[in-house]
């Protein structure tokens, strides 16, 4: 392959092939941080530097007011993730990191769907909502808002079901995750 600094022409295919391979495996990183300004930027910056796209990100308080938990999901090859977690550990405000194994983790997100419903469709949508154990949180003459909690798969399945009715808007929080069993996440 053409090397940087030499005059060889670099084809676009070569450029792409040299990019970082992605496993497609999803990683859920649970990160305890000091509750200080700028922490989130530092974390996000590390991912950006590596060319990683953060898929979802949630930040919230913990039972200790000085400490927050960041949960982020990212799609990456195992090795680069390892590099990023090591880099994350180097951040002075980062206290603890876990790369959660999907099988040993309970993960949930919350989603709100605003669906267009006219006349007869309404009953059908409500039925689907019931199957997914969603809550209707707002109803107007032409639209209905449904709240769903669950795994990403479940939310995506629900979205697939209601989209044909006319999905006006959808909002998702991104996942929070907690490890199974007695040990702390």
């Amino acid at each position: 392959m053409g090397e940087p600094g030499t005059k060889e022409l670099l084809s676009l295919e070569e450029l792409e092939a040299s990019g970082m391979a992605r496993s497609g495996r999803k990683h859920v990183l649970s990160i305890l941080v000091e509750n200080k300004p700028g922490v989130l930027t530092r974390i996000a910056g590390l991912f950006a530097r590596r060319g990683f796209n953060i898929d979802t990100l949630t930040v919230g308080p913990t039972d200790d007011e000085h400490i927050s938990r960041v949960t982020l999901t990212v799609d990456g090859a195992l090795h680069p993730i390892d590099q990023v977690t090591k880099q994350l550990h180097k951040l002075v405000n980062v206290l603890k990191i876990r790369d959660l194994e999907p099988d040993d983790t309970v993960a949930r997100e919350l989603a709100l769907f605003k669906i267009a419903v006219d006349g007869p469709q309404r009953a059908e949508v409500l039925q689907i909502c019931e199957i997914f154990r969603g809550n209707v949180v707002d109803v107007t003459r032409r639209a209905i808002i449904i709240e769903i909690t669950g795994s990403t798969d479940k939310i995506e399945a629900f979205e697939g079901m209601v989209r044909p009715f006319g999905l006006i808007e959808m909002m998702r929080t991104g996942e929070i995750a907690i490890s199974r069993g007695r040990s702390e996440t």
Partner: protein, 558 residues
């Protein structure tokens, strides 16, 4: 007391004996505090000069350097030295002034989000939110800069907060729950490393700047000589092992010796210590040291297996780990005779491919000769800084460092403009030593203004410009890899460095022929105050040997 006076107390408590800085609106309070603080402040001519000076001071003394700038442009002028210090793991505390809190985020006059700008370039940074935090944060900043893998930190202090009246109490305990460097080294891993070393038939020790940072040069020598381990160092590791030693292979990497690079290529075990397998070391990664297993000793866990997977990783401070490793190794009791064949092979390479250049037949001065002459005249007893380019590589090749902290160069970032201010900072920290800057006619102009600082402060650095009238290293690449299509590398003979040196209040000397070289150098070293020496050298000389970009070590050319 005023918060800024507390800052001064903190600096004193941290043992700071000099700061390099530049005033402005947002750090007026700090400058007012300097009037009574009794801290030596060097007024530089550009903040970048101050930043590099602080790094030069830190590299030469092993202490934390301090650089100051005002908000906005003062702070942004520090960005290059901050990144430079990050890449080379240099402990420097950068203190920047910031606009008053009510103006933050409003594009206030001379506002720059310096924390945001430098986030990927610092080990850590703080924006002061409340004046009461100031003493604690300053001490935390020094602690983070100095410990673990050293590095630059930034403390940004809004102008209004620095004028606040606060009670000052010295902070003696710094507690950062998220920051606990591992320094000891896992004993089991160390034992395993000792066993692997004892079994190795073609081992190489590959040492980097971490050995210098850890103050582990003696331990490295002790370890290497506990058997007959061949040693090579990176550009930043030079001085970590005595260059004239019989086990010394020379520097490795792109412009390293053939012996060092071939040894890496054929090694069965490489023991990396405080080194990070930079691409200038490995060349083509897939063909780097193909037969080797790796022991990797580093204080930064993120370096382990970053570029090359380590078989035996050891996270810890090089000094601690090497001390233990020597003991473990002696306990294993290896047979030194097993390395006989390996040394024969290495000696063959060393005899067949010594570092060499063709000296001129006439009076023309070869740049390599200048470095050799400097080494001869000083007897190697000098602190040497460089800039970036061909002269840097020749300095690394032909000046033989036998002690740590004598060699100051910008390795990771490759910052032209580092050399002169770094020499200035080193000289301030090491008053009794001879401090030399070996530079190029391109690089020196990037922070030339610090000659005025040197003149005013009586900082007697000796700057030797290997003047080829070119941006030599770029010209070399254009010649070798871009069909000699020279594009914007000719600097001509501008400026007149001798006159310029004099205009700055220093002395200027020009050396144009080989027979004047030694005398010229002596004269420069004997002249008091800062001296700039314009040495006219061969215009088109190339640095060899060389691993071409993307090539493997065994395919070195030249």
């Amino acid at each position: 007391m005023r918060a800024v006076d507390a800052v001064m107390e903190c600096l004193k408590a941290e043992g700071v004996d000099v700061v390099f800085g530049y005033p402005g609106g947002a750090n007026l309070p700090t400058y007012d505090a300097f009037v009574d603080a009794g801290i030596h402040h060097v007024l530089v001519r550009h903040e970048a000069g101050g930043g590099h000076a602080a790094a030069g001071y830190a590299k030469a003394t092993g202490k934390v350097g301090v650089a100051l700038g005002t908000s906005g442009p003062g702070a942004t002028n520090l960005v290059t030295p901050i990144m430079d210090a990050m890449m080379d793991s240099v402990p420097v505390v950068f203190l920047t002034g910031q606009v008053r809190t009510e103006l933050l985020g409003t594009d206030g006059f001379q506002e720059a989000d310096i924390l945001g700008i430098t986030m990927p370039a610092v080990k850590h940074s703080w924006m002061i939110q409340h004046p009461l935090e100031i003493p604690r944060v300053i001490h935390e900043a020094f602690h983070v800069a100095r410990t673990g893998r050293p590095g630059p930190v930034v403390v940004d202090i809004p102008m209004d907060l620095s004028r606040a009246d606060i009670p000052y109490e010295p902070v003696t305990d710094v507690r950062l729950p998220g920051y606990q460097p591992t320094t000891e080294g896992n004993v089991k891993q160390i034992r395993q490393a000792a066993k692997a070393l004892a079994a190795a038939r073609r081992p190489v020790i590959y040492a980097g700047g971490g050995v210098i940072s850890a103050g582990a040069a003696e331990e490295l020598t002790e370890f290497a000589t506990s058997d007959r381990f061949p040693v090579t160092c990176t550009l930043n590791g030079l001085g970590g092992f005595p260059a004239p030693h019989e086990q010394w292979l020379g520097m490795l990497g792109m412009h390293g010796t053939r012996a060092a690079n071939y040894a890496m290529d054929e090694a069965d075990l490489i023991c990396a210590i405080g080194a990070r397998f930079d691409d200038r070391i490995t060349g083509k990664l897939s063909e780097f040291a193909p037969r080797a297993k790796f022991i990797h000793i580093d204080i930064d866990p993120a370096e382990i297996s970053k570029n090359v997977p380590a078989h035996i990783p050891i996270v810890g401070d090089a000094k601690n780990v090497l001390t233990k490793l020597v003991n473990e190794y002696r306990a294993v009791g290896a047979d030194p005779a097993r390395l006989e064949e390996w040394w024969q092979r290495i000696h063959e390479w060393q005899e067949r491919h010594p570092l060499r250049y063709d000296d001129s037949e006439d009076g023309e001065i070869k740049p390599q000769r200048v470095v050799e002459a400097l080494y001869e005249v000083t007897g190697g007893d000098a602190i040497v800084s460089t800039d970036v380019g061909q002269h840097q590589m020749w300095a690394a090749q032909y000046f033989h460092f036998d002690k740590p902290r004598k060699w100051l160069t910008s390795g990771g970032l490759g910052t032209m403009g580092f050399g002169l201010p770094a020499a200035m900072g080193a000289q301030v920290g090491c008053k009794d030593e001879t401090v030399i800057c070996i530079t190029g006619d391109g690089s020196v102009q990037m922070n030339m203004q610090e000659m005025a600082t040197c003149a005013q402060e009586g900082i007697p650095i000796k700057v030797f410009i290997l003047n080829n009238g070119y941006l030599g290293m770029v010209r070399q690449w254009q010649q070798l890899f871009w069909d000699r299509r020279y594009s914007h590398v000719d600097m001509g003979q501008y400026p007149d460095f001798v006159k310029l040196a004099e205009a700055y209040g220093g002395s200027g000397i020009r050396i144009e022929s080989k027979d004047k070289l030694i005398d010229g150098i002596r004269q420069a070293l004997d002249t008091p105050g800062p001296v700039l020496v314009d040495v006219r050298v061969t215009r088109e000389e190339n640095v060899y040997p060389m691993i071409a970009p993307g090539a493997a070590a065994r395919d070195m050319v030249g």
